[in-house]
Amino acid sequence: MTAVAIQPTDMPGAGAADTWNLRRVLQISVIAGVVAIYLCLVGIVPVFAERPLIVDVLELGQAALLITFGAASYLAGMDQVKASWLRAVVVGAIVGAITGAFLTGLVLLGEAIDLRSVFLNASPTLYALLTDGIVLTGPIVPIVAGAITGALAAVILGLPSAIRVPLVIGLSSLLFFGLFAGLLRTPMLVTPLRDVARFMFGSEGLTAAGAAIVFVVSVGTTAIVRRTKPRQRVNALPPRQRRLVVGPLGLLVLALVLLFPLAMGPFFAQVIALVAIFVLLGMGLNITLGLAGLLDLGFVAFFAVGAYTVALLTSTAEYGLANWGFWEAVPFAVLFAMLFGLILGLPILRIRGDYLAIATLGFGEIIRILAGSDLMKPILGGPRGILNIPKPLDVPPTHWLSGPVQIYYIALAFAAVVAFIAWRLRSSRLGRSWMAIREDEDVAEGMGVNLVQTKLLAYMLGGAFAGLAGAISAGLVGSIFASSIQLQLSINVAAIVIVGGMGSIPGVVVGALILVGLPELFREFSDYRLLFYGIALMVIMILRPEGLLPSRVTRRELHTSRELADVPDSELVTDEERREASLP
């Protein structure tokens, strides 16, 4: 979409772009108004009213409302800017003002009747916050603030894209660094960069100077990248020269991945270790669900089998059976998880589709309830759990490999091995059989695919990976409790596979980073973490139903008629392989 102000086709008489389209303007304003009220009542605005985004300039709570105003006006202005910039600005201001008027309405209503007996957050503090502008006070403040923000957003919208895009990216990076400033600052304080950290980041939020630096740097970088277009240039190079650029870049990424937990301190190491465990789980479910299309919502059961096997075999505390080392126990964890896959897979062989999801969910719940019950307590320890599981590598606590760092490396190494196995499996005869039954069981059977063997192998291999993840996770935490087995874990893993793109291995990594890593970083906002998680799931599914990094086959399925109809079938698998092989 270009932002060129007036084009001949947009002159009077050219249809929709010419009308003011008041209905749409009103629609957007009302939706934005409801969103703004929601943000206030759900607590995001009042709770984060004291949390600085930029110290002494802007707080997070207020920023949430300003972003709502701005985004609504931006959307409404997109229709209008084709006709004239001025008109877009006027519409932007109107949309912002109407959105603000909803908040004014909330304040007036709240002063008339006691909303607080229903909504906890409808407190005088909230009203004070909404009516306290810097220059003026009173219920008019949200309207004025909305109008100004809306007009500004529309002004940005009307700028030529060479200015607009860097500006929007600059503002977004302010938000990003403002949110994570505290997290970035802590590890930097122990390095020579500590003075830079103190100058740029407060304990929460950016300092004013830091904000200026972040803004200028991000705007500058974006402008340069847009001007020079490095990606197109690299793509335009002949293959041999391209390899010269891509190779070192890949090595750089690899080095970053390897050094990340060491450089960023224990908190990030913990987060990234968790991500790596979920990558393992995701790779497992990617076989059952992504390749074979069998939705398993009780995947946590395999995780539990792996974790409890390791716990029982290695624990030196109560309930421990053998006092083995971690590494002797891992093969048994994997083996038992596989066996469990066989036992679970047999009865549900003939169940299909959604019913399979529900049956496996039932299995998962049964395992969870049993693990926590008095019945299994003499063996599994019930809610008190099994303690003292040894670390995989026995190093003194001061050693650089102690704690989550070693789990990260172990999980990463296993994830690499598992990814390789999964990748090789996919184009094997077995992998193709899996994909065949994913597409249509009856046809696959007709083509000579042995459904029983193929499905059981999918459950067993997927389960084996999950059992491995469970074993490593038990090593990370050092204990296992009945409460660590939760339905949410199964749902998380399924979401990772589907959000990443069914059957796609890089998709699993991206999915785990977004759905596990990102929420962990939002620990400060723990009350709202799952709220955003839910929103993210809906938004990703609506915008990209094929997932973020879909495999070629899935993408083709969704856009059969249009974009990809001309791709010959023979190219499907090989092309995909080539793409993945080139990824670091």
Binding site: Y38, L41, V42, G43, I44, S117, V118, F119, L120, N121, L289, L295, L346, P347, I348, L349, R350, I351, R352, G353, D354, Y355, A357, I358, A359, L361, G362, F363, E365, I366, I369, L370, G372, S373, D374, L375, N450, V452, Q453, I491, A494, A495, I498, V499, M502, D527, Y528, L530, L531, Y533, G534, I535, A536, L537, M538, M541, I542, P545, E557, L558
Partner: protein, 358 residues
């Protein structure tokens, strides 16, 4: 030739496995029941009390199950957010009832109290319907043509969104439902020991489900809903607005869930933001038990699940000396679910969806 022989061997092995699976379950049920009954730990009065509790719980499951069954019938999707619609109704009814109680309506005799409860149910239905229509519009409608797992994930997202929005609005505490005193007294019903509130729950849910059944079978809108579940394309050719039928399905299911929310609150007192999750899964189980897509099936499945969950753990397991059988209530319910799915996926009443789709 060898491979084919191997296949036959595995087929036989699987059949043997399935049979022994079935045999073990039946043996546990029969032997456990006999042992429990012989041990004489429980008097007939104890059992009747469990039956009463099971009926109350089961009627609530049945009402929630209705929404699952109808939505699955028409869209072939599991509406994972339905448990949250139930929870929202419970909250809506709570605030309505608190407001009505503050006018003293709950202490002015039976008729006035029941009227107040009726108003609270209407308020709850309104809240639930509003949310369900919103969820359908935002999270499901754009995904109608997407692969089947996509709306499932979106529904899980909607479910989390609703749960944590309510937590943001109303906090993570427990809210205690205001209940008029007469509901807490025992009702003079022969054999079963039930409180009046249990009677209210069972009667109200039976009445509402009957009305709904008549609506679906007799009214024009109900017929159009059934037509769209049968075959959306053909229904559209007959001049039926499929979108309208789908939205109406959500409206009906949500209204029932909202009413169930109030009844749940009255019977079990406490409401909180995550209360919808477990009843939601159970109600889906009930829908599957009764035969998904089938309105009387939801009622039957709900009551059956409620009863087996109340009686099962004690009857089947305590004879073996299993401690704290009550903890295993949910495990029995889910075992039931798995067994139905494995051995009779079309449910107790059986229906058309499974044969054509699942």
């Amino acid at each position: 030739m060898n491979a084919r022989k191997l296949d036959r061997v595995t087929d036989v092995a699987i059949d043997v496995f399935m049979w022994s699976f079935k045999a073990v379950i039946i043996a546990v049920v029969v032997v456990g029941s006999v042992l429990t009954l012989l041990s004489g730990t429980y008097t007939p009065a104890d059992w009747l009390e469990l039956v009463g509790a099971g009926l109350t719980q089961g009627s609530i499951y049945a009402m929630i199950a209705l929404g699952y069954t109808m939505v699955y019938g028409i869209l072939r999707m599991i509406n994972f957010a339905h448990g949250e619609i139930f929870m929202a109704g419970s909250f809506g009814g709570y605030f309505a009832l608190v407001a009505l109680a503050s006018t003293g309506m709950l202490s002015q005799g039976v008729a006035v109290s029941l009227f107040a409860i009726g108003l609270a149910i209407l308020a709850a239905m309104a809240v639930s319907v509003l949310l369900a229509v919103g969820v359908e519009r935002i999270a499901y409608r754009p995904l109608r043509d997407a692969p089947r797992l996509v709306p499932l994930i979106s529904a899980i997202g909607a479910s989390l969104f609703l749960q944590y929005s309510f937590r943001g609005f109303f906090g993570s505490g427990l809210y205690a439902y205001p209940t008029p005193d007469f509901l807490k007294q025992d009702a003079p019903i022969p054999l079963l020991s039930m409180r009046w509130v249990d009677v209210l729950v069972v009667v109200a849910s039976l009445a509402m489900m009957t009305v709904l059944y008549l609506f679906v079978m007799r009214s024009k809108l109900g017929t159009s809903i059934r037509a769209v579940s049968e075959d959306q394309g053909t229904a559209a050719l007959m001049g039926i607005d499929a979108n309208r039928a789908i939205v109406m399905t959500f409206v009906i299911g949500a209204a029932m869930a909202g009413a169930a929310g109030v009844l749940y609150g009255l019977a079990f007192i406490q409401v909180t933001y995550f209360m919808g999750v477990i009843p939601g899964i159970k109600a889906f189980t009930a829908a599957v038990l009764g035969g998904i897509g089938n309105v009387p099936g939801a009622l039957l499945g709900g009551l059956f699940l409620g009863l087996i969950e109340a009686i099962g753990p004690t009857l089947f397991l305590s004879g073996f000396g299993v401690p704290a059988t009550n903890q295993l209530k949910d495990a029995v319910a889910f075992t039931m679910l798995v067994l139905v799915l494995v051995f009779r996926p079309s449910g107790i009443l059986g229906e058309r969806v499974t044969r054509s789709r699942a």
